[in-house]
Symmetry: none
DNA sequence: TCCTAAGCGAGACGGTACGTCTTGTCTTCCA
DNA sequence: TGGAAGACAAGACGTACCGTCTCGCTTAGGA
């Protein structure tokens, strides 16, 4: 049984796969079980058995779909990645009126608030690093693109573009994590404003 | 056998402990083995057995000193923490002449370069997150103190001090990781200058 | 689907079954695959999957006909049993001229030589015991009948008839197995003669 | 951990092994559990887990001593084999007065009666064949030796010695199995006498 | 001629046992 | 007494079969 292989939609066996909804259902059950368990305990401490029991799925079925616990998480993150990219695209097109630099941040904050539990799960524990690493990667790509479009005709002793990318992403992830860990009390717009101000004007304006 | 218990120097059994240098030696062997293994493979993938074999130490001896692999790492990070704090103190006193805000950064960059292998080990892989988390914590405390001394009486719509702390630490860790991952080619002073400029003046100066 | 149920020819659905030759064909394919696999590897090591693949049959089809691998073998042995019984009957009637005691042996040796591969398969490996057990059972019945017809009014300190039955069958199976394992080099008549002489006259004549 | 390796007594580490009685104890527990389970259910149906639970032993410990369930049985049979050989030697020396041909049989019958449960376990079920096969092998060797010492100067159309060996062993195993299956009601001497008479004189004396 | 029931292949699924690996505890010996 | 050696229980891992099931496809008989 090699269910795990057909990730890409080849379109040919579409009819078959529509009929066989069971596969999709099983995977969804496993993903949900995974997330709900991550909310309860450390990622490393979660057992494949636990996931299966929570999903009401046989262990062999698990391994028919995913090669390991990590594979399950990767697959989940892939979903998240697609969501985020879509959100960014939509945000960018909608932002024609607004100041378009750092256009990603508000969309991210809002997405995080909308999926608060998921983000808490991802950020928490030891395994959080991996998930956050994925998001970090996505954002890096976005920002790198944005900066590429920017005028960097600049001066002599300059700062490598990648350093700036990492700087912005690192700062953003830290602020977002702080915001989420505090329960996301402030409205997204507020945090976004704070973040953008710090990035653009530096901290001396706030703490001179 | 409960060697692990006597962490705090009680001074009484000083004579005894001087004689028994073996304990310190064994622990050092284990720590070195641990670090050298981390340089080779993922932290999670390292087994207690491997550490013991690399340290030429029996497994039961390991458990006589540490309760687990994580305990060993914690203990190692504690050393690092002490080094970093000491370095910061010394940096602060030495910096009376220099601009003292964000005084930690240059000392950190230099320390990282001086222990390049160790930092690469800490930053790499999945387990890196934990180690970096510790450093992040140390830096957060430092910056929080620094900001506390600062004048923040400022304007009406304010940015929470902790948000700024996290912002700075996140940005710093990201830049440092980028620098290290690139092989620490640039001199510490250069990266430090870049980082400080981004933090204080914002990115608009570089990428308007 | 409960194809497996209609084992006994009830005569009613005879027309239907004659028409549906597919069932018979599928079963034959499975039986052949089974035997050919047994010739290659240990019975216990053969999987249902392998049988199905060798027979070019779906797994669910297998279970539509047989409840398990053992069921398949039982069914195959039943065929064998019928053949053997038929052969014995025919041998007995044909042997009116010959010494009729132990009439089964020559027929058995000849049948074994005619189906050398099958017998090798049955006798080999661990699973051989089961198959041989079936033959042993058949022979026990034959010999028991033969002895029943015999005059056993004999002496005082008597040997239970069943002991003699088991004695003869055990000896026969051992000799036949030895003969087959050696490649059935000797002609059936020779082995038969040897066996009959040992049984009737005892070994002291040969090894006094 | 490679406990399983040191089967042969090399004499060097004798001191160590005498001290470490745990190993012997664990193995004994496993063997006993194995035998007691075989008495209850088919050998094939017994699980390593069950054996471990019955022996109050961890699964990993099992695999530290034996490579598989079969290995455990082999090891147990090896014990049996040694016992049987010893018994035969002792029987042979003691039998100077008695008719020494087929000297093995009485000793075997007595041994079987003395360990009735064990023999029932070995003979029962599907796996029995393997155990019985081992005994069959031991007896074959014994008888082959005995016949080798015998005068076979004999006539022209002769019976291969190995055929006789197999004949005797097969007959003996069958009679013994019959006797045990019936509960070993008759005294060993009686069965032995029956068996010897059948072998030496043939069945025609009993069933002419 | 179509139509309908059955044989069939494909394969997802829940289970269960496997043999391996690592962990942390404990006991025994040696220096 | 600190350390080395290593037996042991516990339990997760990923694999391999099992027997059950649901799904469409084919095909042959009766309409």
């Amino acid at each position: 049984m090699d269910i795990a292989a057909d990730m890409s939609g080849n379109g040919v066996s579409m009819a078959k796969r529509q009929i066989d909804r069971r596969v999709a259902r099983t995977r969804a059950l496993l993903q949900q079980a995974h997330v709900s368990l991550i909310l309860k305990k450390d990622y490393e401490a979660i057992t494949v058995d636990e996931i299966c029991e929570a999903a009401n799925v046989g262990r062999s079925t698990f391994y028919a779909h995913y090669t390991s616990k990590d594979d399950l998480r990767r697959s989940g993150l892939e979903h998240l990645r697609r969501q985020l990219v879509a959100r960014q695209v939509e945000a960018r097109t909608a932002a024609h009126a607004r100041d378009r630099s750092l256009g990603f941040s508000l969309a991210m904050f809002e997405h995080a608030r909308d999926h608060l539990d998921l983000y808490k799960a991802l950020a928490g524990g030891r395994g959080g690093a991996v998930a956050l690493g994925t998001i970090r990667q996505i954002l890096s790509d976005l920002i790198r693109n944005e900066l590429a479009a920017t005028n960097d005709r600049t001066s002599t002793d300059h700062i490598p573009r990648e350093a700036v990318v990492q700087y912005v992403v690192g700062a953003f992830m830290a602020v977002m994590t702080w915001w989420l860990d505090g329960g996301a009390k402030l409205p997204p717009q507020r945090v976004d404003a704070m973040f953008r101000r710090l990035v653009t004007e530096g901290i001396l304006h706030a703490f001179p």
